[in-house]
Each structure stands twice: as structure tokens, then as C-alpha cells.
Symmetry: C2
């Protein structure tokens, strides 16, 4: 591996920019991962690793894992611990970093019309966004559509998602309306979560076959525009509706989409 | 209202200790709340407010709310903004603080043998603990049993719970084993969540009537000792089990306990 000892090196400056700046991520089509677990996950899942960086200290401690990651990276560098400190986003950095390529999928590639998807409109908190994607992967959801809100490729969302963003198909869009209309044309059912207790109960709607369920922003819920395209559905609650936050509502919605009894109904 | 202008005042020193130190909270049987919403919630729910503190700036901005809180507090003080800074736990403090009494409930008072309870064993992250209690309140769970882990009366857990800890009956114990055995003697069913796929599926067990479901620590799950007292149950997943975190598992478990179809089975 080649070495980089100067924190002023162009490759290091690029990586720092990618870590900190959503518009730069979008422009370069790269995102930043930090830590042994996430970088190893990227190598394991075959995510295209554009560049990998490892500190001298990390190499001494995690030589085998680093060899595994470096082999799968397009380019890999050993860096001084000072450079590692410049790259680190977390307090207790392990000195292992990757720049990965943001996967580019067309709408048709990303969204299988027979699948079950969660759509996240304008979610503000990267920890919520990451946690929802992590749960989606656990429950076997086909993928996530992300529109607006915080950047799902931010280091904070990647950490909260614990590698699930490398495995779960994600389709990001600036126009959720158009995406949903196209899915409806391809035969998918559209639902939107609302606290409105007069909406259809989530336990009583047919979510078999191709389906997208939209979860809205933490404070304001699903926008009027999106709600008008979807069948409103609600999680019936015995307690105080305002106490159910966006990521918990998403977890219960995805669980109901994949709930064993429901899937059996459809012979799946 | 009397004034406190010195950050060295004994009442202020006590409040700072209570905010920062779990053992002091236990000893004094008091906990610390910060912010207009939480302090107003405490007044609204009739939580015994031992002492309330308001900064001059807060009084100018939120006079009506402060009058409402002060009326319900056993004692209330106006404090200088410098004292407010000393009391503040959050970056953007509103200058409104309460010391509230930790409710003391006997096991028999706290746990209705016909209710549906969530028990949290050794949860480490106050944000998880708070979020689970918030969801419990939303779904209409009867209460929570908390054993070990982080302190549910910490300011961080209180913030994450968004007032639900003031309304949801909480029973804290150092001996979950003994609590569960006593509940079983009173006719309650005991379940413990496990990722073990051979355990009974949560969708196929009878959770009507009095029931307690135990959720374990973020890393290690429910302890062997507790698992041996309970019927193991699992959330059947099509995806990667290790991706379901403790608070999401708790949300799905509580949802299944309260799911409308289930309650109907029991004529409720």
C-alpha cells in the first residue's frame, strides 16, 4: 500500500469533504464510511470501494481485516495517525475509513412491483433514518425510498443503520410524487401513515402484493400532496397518539407489512 | 416568588447534583426536569413538584405557563440567568427547571395482574429507555418494569420519553427475578424476547389477560436467569435478525400485545 503522511493531501481533503458535505457526496457520487465493522461490511457486500485508508495503529491491530478490505478496494493507503485524526468523525476512531460509490439505480431497477417498500418523506434525524433502514433489513422489507430530509449517505445515518444501507436497496428521489405515481401505474398499492383515527386501520387493509407505505416527517407527518395520492392508513392505538414517533411508527408499519399471518394469506 | 441569584446557593447545588447523579436521585427520591414542555407536563399530570426554578428571561417569555407551574409546585424560585446556565443540561436551555418527587409504588400497586406490561432488563442507552416508554404510552401499555441499566430518571431518559415517564406507571426494581415470580404467582403470564428462531412466534402465543414481556439488554438480550423464568418468544423475521435493535423489538412486542385483533379475541 502507498502511504499518505500529510493531512493536506488532496485525497484526504476530498474524503473529509465527502464526510461532511451532502452536496459534495451527490456531486462525486461517493460516501464516507468509518470503522472496522462498516468498512468490512462494505467489502463483504461487494459495495464498490473507491478508496480505503488505514492508520498505522489500525494495521497493527486489525491486519487481517484490513488486508481483506484493501484487496477489495480500488485503491488503498496507509496513513499516519495524524491523517487518521483528520479523517475521524467519531470520538473513538478505529483508524479505518472507506470512500464508497453511491449505487445508481433506475426507478425500475430499484423498485420491484411485487415487493414491499417503505418510503420516508422528509425525515430530519439521520439516527431515525438509519434505524428505520436497519429495521427494514431485519424484517425483510424489499427496500426503501428516501425523499428529502437529511442525507441517508451521511456518516451519522450510516452509523445508525449499522451496515444495513450497504445491503438494503435504497432509491433516493427529489420527486416522491412522480415515483409513487409510476409505482401505481405498475400495479403497486400506495399507503400513507397518518395519526387520523378515521383512516383505515393498518390491521384491516390488504398489504399483500406490491406495496409502498409512506412514513412522514417527525413533526408534520406525510405531506398533503403525497397523502392525496395514497390510501391513508393508521396505527390504532389505545394510548396517546402523539407519543408514537416516526421511527417507531415505521417499525410497526413494516412489521404489519411482513407479519407472518399476512404473508400466509397470500401463500407467500 | 423568592429569588436566587447565586450559583453557589444550596438549593441550586442540590438540583445540579440530582440532575447529574443517579445515586443522589435515589437517595433524595427526586429527579430533575428541564424545559417548558416537560415541566408543564409535570404540573398537568399532578406529579409532585418539590421545587421549580425559572430564569428572568423565561418569565418574560413564558409568564402564563410559569404561573401555572409555580402554582402547582411546593416551592418556586426566580433565578438569575447565570444560575439558569448552571442548572441547564441542554445547549438551548429555556430556563425552566423542576425537581420532582420519584413516585414510590409498591409492587402490588404498580402491577395490576390483569394488565399488559413491558419489562426492560439492563437497557444501557437512556434514549432507548425513554423511546420505549414513549411508545408504551402511545400503544396503551399498562406500565413498565425497569431493572438495571441506565437510570430511567436521568435527564436524558426523561427527554427521550417526552413526558411519558410522568404518565406511564413505572416500577423500578433491583430484583427482576423476584418481581417476575411474584407476578406469576398472581396469575400473570411471563414472556421474554429472544432472537432464537426456535422459540414460540410472537404472533402465535396467547398474550391476553395479565402479561409481562421482557426485553433485554442491547448487546446481550435477556439474561439466562430471567429467560429460565419466562416463556421465550421471538419476532419472526424474513431478514437479518441481528439488525433488530432493542427499542424496535420492544415496539413490535408491545404492538403485538395490544394489537386490535388480539384484544378482540378476548372480548376487550
Amino acid at each position: 500500500m502507498n502511504r499518505i503522511d500529510s493531512p493536506g493531501n488532496e485525497k484526504i481533503k476530498l474524503a473529509v469533504k465527502i464526510a461532511g458535505d451532502a452536496s459534495r457526496r451527490k456531486k462525486e457520487k461517493l460516501f464516507f464510511l468509518e470503522g472496522l465493522r462498516l468498512c468490512r461490511d462494505a467489502a463483504l457486500t461487494g459495495s464498490p470501494i473507491h478508496t480505503a485508508f488505514f492508520t498505522d495503529s489500525a494495521l497493527r491491530k486489525n491486519g487481517d481485516d484490513i488486508a481483506f478490505i484493501a484487496e477489495r478496494a480500488q485503491r488503498a493507503f496507509l496513513v499516519s495517525d495524524a491523517v487518521g485524526e483528520k479523517l475521524a468523525c467519531t470520538g473513538s476512531s478505529q483508524g479505518i475509513f472507506c470512500l464508497c460509490e453511491i449505487p445508481e439505480r433506475s426507478r425500475e431497477e430499484a423498485l420491484d412491483p411485487t415487493g414491499a417498500y417503505i418510503a420516508l418523506e422528509n425525515i430530519q434525524d439521520p439516527a431515525n433514518l438509519g434505524a428505520v433502514c436497519r429495521t427494514a433489513e431485519a424484517l425483510g422489507i424489499s427496500g426503501a425510498v428516501v425523499c428529502g430530509g437529511c442525507d441517508i449517505y451521511s456518516p451519522k445515518a450510516q452509523r445508525a443503520a449499522m451496515g444495513s444501507l450497504l445491503r438494503l436497496p435504497i432509491f433516493t428521489t427529489d420527486d416522491l410524487c412522480e415515483t409513487l405515481l409510476s409505482c401505481r401505474e405498475r400495479g403497486m398499492k400506495l399507503f400513507a401513515a397518518t395519526p387520523d383515527s378515521t383512516a383505515a386501520k393498518i390491521t384491516e387493509i390488504d398489504m399483500n402484493g406490491g406495496v409502498i407505505a409512506v412514513i412522514g416527517n417527525e413533526g408534520n407527518g406525510v405531506s398533503e400532496e403525497i397523502l392525496s395520492l395514497c390510501r391513508p392508513m393508521t396505527i390504532p392505538m389505545l394510548g396517546r397518539a402523539e407519543s408514537l414517533n416516526a421511527s417507531m411508527a415505521a417499525a410497526i408499519t413494516m412489521w404489519e407489512m411482513m407479519r407472518p399471518g399476512r404473508q400466509d394469506d397470500n401463500g407467500q
